[in-house]
């Protein structure tokens, strides 16, 4: 059950895994950027209607999750870029 090095699923030059990489990388960069912004502008637990929201903002989820997504997406984008293999 090994992960295929080359995606044999399409005859096109763009692999499905490349699309996965680009989407994760783009979202990751946006979220990571938001996370960096929140270091200088800390997000408070703002209320959405009557509900407490973003209650664990102190853990900087956007920064860490955005970073993880950027790395994951970056890896897939590079590993399955058009023309490779």
């Amino acid at each position: 059950m090994t992960h295929p090095a080359i995606d044999p699923s399409t005859e096109q030059s763009l692999s499905i895994w490349f699309f996965v990489g680009v989407l994760m990388l783009s979202c990751g960069v946006l979220i990571f950027g938001q996370g960096i912004y929140e270091f200088s502008h800390p997000a408070v637990a703002v209320a959405a209607g009557e509900l407490p929201a973003n209650v664990l903002a102190k853990y900087h989820g956007a920064f860490w999750w955005g970073l993880a997504m950027t790395l994951f997406g970056g890896f897939y984008t590079v590993a399955f870029r058009p023309g490779k293999g």
Binding site: M1, H3, P4, D7, P8, S9, T10, E11, Q12, L14, I16, F19, V20, V22, L23, M24, S26, C27, L30, I31, G33, Q34, G35, E38, A43, A47, A48, G49, E50, L51, P52, A53, N54, V55, L56, A57, Y59, G61, A62, W65, G66, M69
Partner: protein
């Protein structure tokens, strides 16, 4: 998922939960742009019917497997089962474990060779090869009818959720969702749908996994969650999978282990995962038999961990979800007085409520995009399966048998548009009368269990005849409808389905709709099997020649090329089954 879910018409009455920041909107727009791009991009390689309807049968095991599990990972299901976990506790995880994994492994190891070797393009197509036109017609008509209706239900649910969570206009959501899905499925067929399902799968993991992680941090870990749960609900059964299933009254769902094992684990689960063409179509797109066998096993491995971001948030909400004044928030059933008239939130809103609680700007956009992707992929799955069954099993079989290949591709593209328009009509119909949604989902369950009886006998029993298959399928379906009407007429009739004719009123009250469905499926399957066997013995056996490639014992399964034990599908199926067993033991 494999069980009717009842998303609330009552949601309409609650207030908007949150709003999106610019970064959230950017993420959502990015997703839409990519989806449309993929549709245009793959159009150039979907020229033949094989390419349009079966993605050219060239998908790898990983892609077919992720698409297989993703086709079932719709947002309707995610939200519904998170709500079920809040309502029934960890018992809801049965629908992801025993209610899915064994059937997926069985599909890969036992059934896939017959689907694949027969070169069928659909499940009704297999029935035609094995049991003739009658069985195919019954199966194709019911499936085509139900898929477009289900697509409409998905569409309406998405619009409703977007209205509740973000305050979006329902018409706007319906039309944007429908047009987007229609564009990418019409252009790229199944190939486009599969690529988007893989994207959706990754998005859902990325968008939803942070909720249980942060929730468990706030709760102080799993052990602390259990302690707080017992203190909160005063009932340890919320955290046990099996130990409370000895009686109908010992657990929050009102279900007995026989219902879970035989009704859910065997009939409903096997019926859904092995014969519902919506999911089987994904596996049929695999590029060789070994990949087709591996795909459901890979799907099962991922499916096993879905409860982490569906069931766990539901459990966490029971002890962590608080209102503005810091008190634990109580959620209520849909349609209850509290939801309808007092503005309280319903069970099915658990997941959006937890999103709001833990996800800030950016992450919230990711979570919302994952939900939207789930809804759209649900629509795309239904519409692409509809266009295949309509074109191959109805139009090509009964209306125009000798058209050119390009004509069938055009028919498939037009079908996508027409199917989407019918879905939009259904969505507006449901908007007018929310109870229609419940009925549509109930209807879907009528066909699944008997169809499994017919297919499994067809694959494993050579003596099953065409007449046996047809009458078994018809009688099984009719019995399922009959039992449903019987309970609709008088709820106390459930006592006959659970084989307790003298059951007390209290026991009957505790048997929830979910549990009743398990027994209805079980008995309709039994009826189908008995009728098939009896009619088969009363009719002439089919010649051995006609069974080649279709039935166990008459089919030579080609060597899959595995040389080492870890390359064999059966090895990984055993690994997955072992992990499943350990998880169940842990949460016994």
């Amino acid at each position: 998922m494999i069980q009717p879910l009842h998303l609330p018409g009552a949601l309409l009455l609650t207030t908007q939960l949150t709003h999106l920041a610019p970064v959230d909107i950017a993420i959502l727009l990015l997703y839409f742009a990519m989806v449309i791009f993929i549709g245009f991009y793959v159009k150039g390689s979907t020229n033949t019917s094989e390419e349009f309807f079966l993605a050219g049968r060239e998908m790898s095991a990983w892609i077919a497997g992720l698409s297989f599990v993703s086709a079932n990972l719709g947002s309707l299901e995610l939200m519904g089962w998170a709500g079920a976990a809040y309502q029934y506790g960890i018992l809801a995880a049965h629908w992801y474990w025993i209610g899915a994994i064994p059937a997926m492994l069985f599909l890969g190891i036992v059934m896939m060779p017959f689907y694949y070797i027969s070169k069928t393009h659909s499940v009704p197509g297999y029935l035609q090869l094995r049991f003739g036109e009658g069985a195919r017609a019954v199966s194709a008509v019911s499936f085509a009818f139900m898929t477009v209706l289900m697509s409409g239900v998905n569409m309406y649910s998405m619009a409703l959720v977007m209205k509740v969570v973000l305050g979006w206009d329902i018409n706007f959501s319906i039309w944007v969702g429908a047009v987007t899905v229609a564009i990418y499925v019409m252009l790229g067929g199944l190939r486009s749908a599969i690529i988007n399902e893989v994207l959706q799968f990754v998005l859902i993991w990325a968008g939803a996994a942070l909720i249980p992680i942060l929730g468990l941090i706030e709760a102080g870990g799993w052990a602390n969650l259990k302690v707080q749960m017992i203190a909160r609900v005063g009932d340890p059964s919320y955290m046990h999978m099996w130990s409370t299933l000895g009686s109908f009254s010992g657990n929050p769902m009102g279900v007995h282990w026989t219902g879970i094992v035989f009704g859910l684990g065997f009939v409903i689960s096997f019926g859904y995962w092995t014969t519902d063409f919506l999911v089987v179509q994904r596996v049929l797109s695999a590029n060789n038999l070994r990949a087709a066998q591996f795909a459901p096993i890979i799907g099962a491995a991922f499916k096993m961990f879905v409860p982490f971001f569906v069931i766990v948030p539901g459990l966490l909400a029971l002890v962590l979800l608080k209102d503005g004044s810091g008190h634990i928030m109580q959620l209520y059933p849909d349609g209850s007085d509290q939801v309808l008239h007092h503005g309280m939130h319903s069970f099915n809103e658990v997941l959006p409520l937890m999103m709001v609680r833990y996800l800030g700007p950016g992450l919230l956009g990711l979570g919302i995009t994952a939900l939207v992707a789930g809804f759209m992929s649900g629509m795309a799955g239904n519409v692409s399966a509809f266009s295949t069954v309509w074109t191959y099993d109805l139009y090509g079989a009964y209306i125009n048998k000798k058209a050119s290949d390009s004509h069938y591709v055009s028919m498939g593209r037009w079908c996508t548009i027409i199917g989407m328009l019918i879905s939009i009509g259904t969505a507006y119909l449901v908007m007018g009368a929310a109870s229609i949604m419940d009925y549509v989902q109930e209807l879907f369950s009528f066909f699944i269990a008997p169809l499994f009886g017919t297919v499994i006998l067809g694959m494993l029993w050579k003596r099953a005849t065409k007449a046996g298959g047809f009458w078994g399928l018809l009688c099984g379906t009719a019995s399922s409808v009959g039992m449903w009407l019987m309970v609709l007429h008088d709820k106390t009739n459930i006592r006959f389905m659970i084989l307790q004719p003298h059951a007390s009123a209290d026991t009957i009250d505790r048997v929830q709709a979910m549990a009743a469905n398990l027994y209805r499926a079980l008995w309709s399957w039994v009826v189908c099997v008995i009728v098939t066997i009896v009619v088969s013995y009363l009719t002439k056996p089919m010649p051995e020649e006609a069974l080649k490639g279709l039935v166990y014992g008459s089919t030579i399964i080609p060597d899959d090329g595995s040389t080492k034990v870890y390359q064999k599908p059966i090895f990984w199926a055993i690994v997955v089954a072992t992990v499943l067993f350990i998880l169940n033991l842990w949460l016994w």
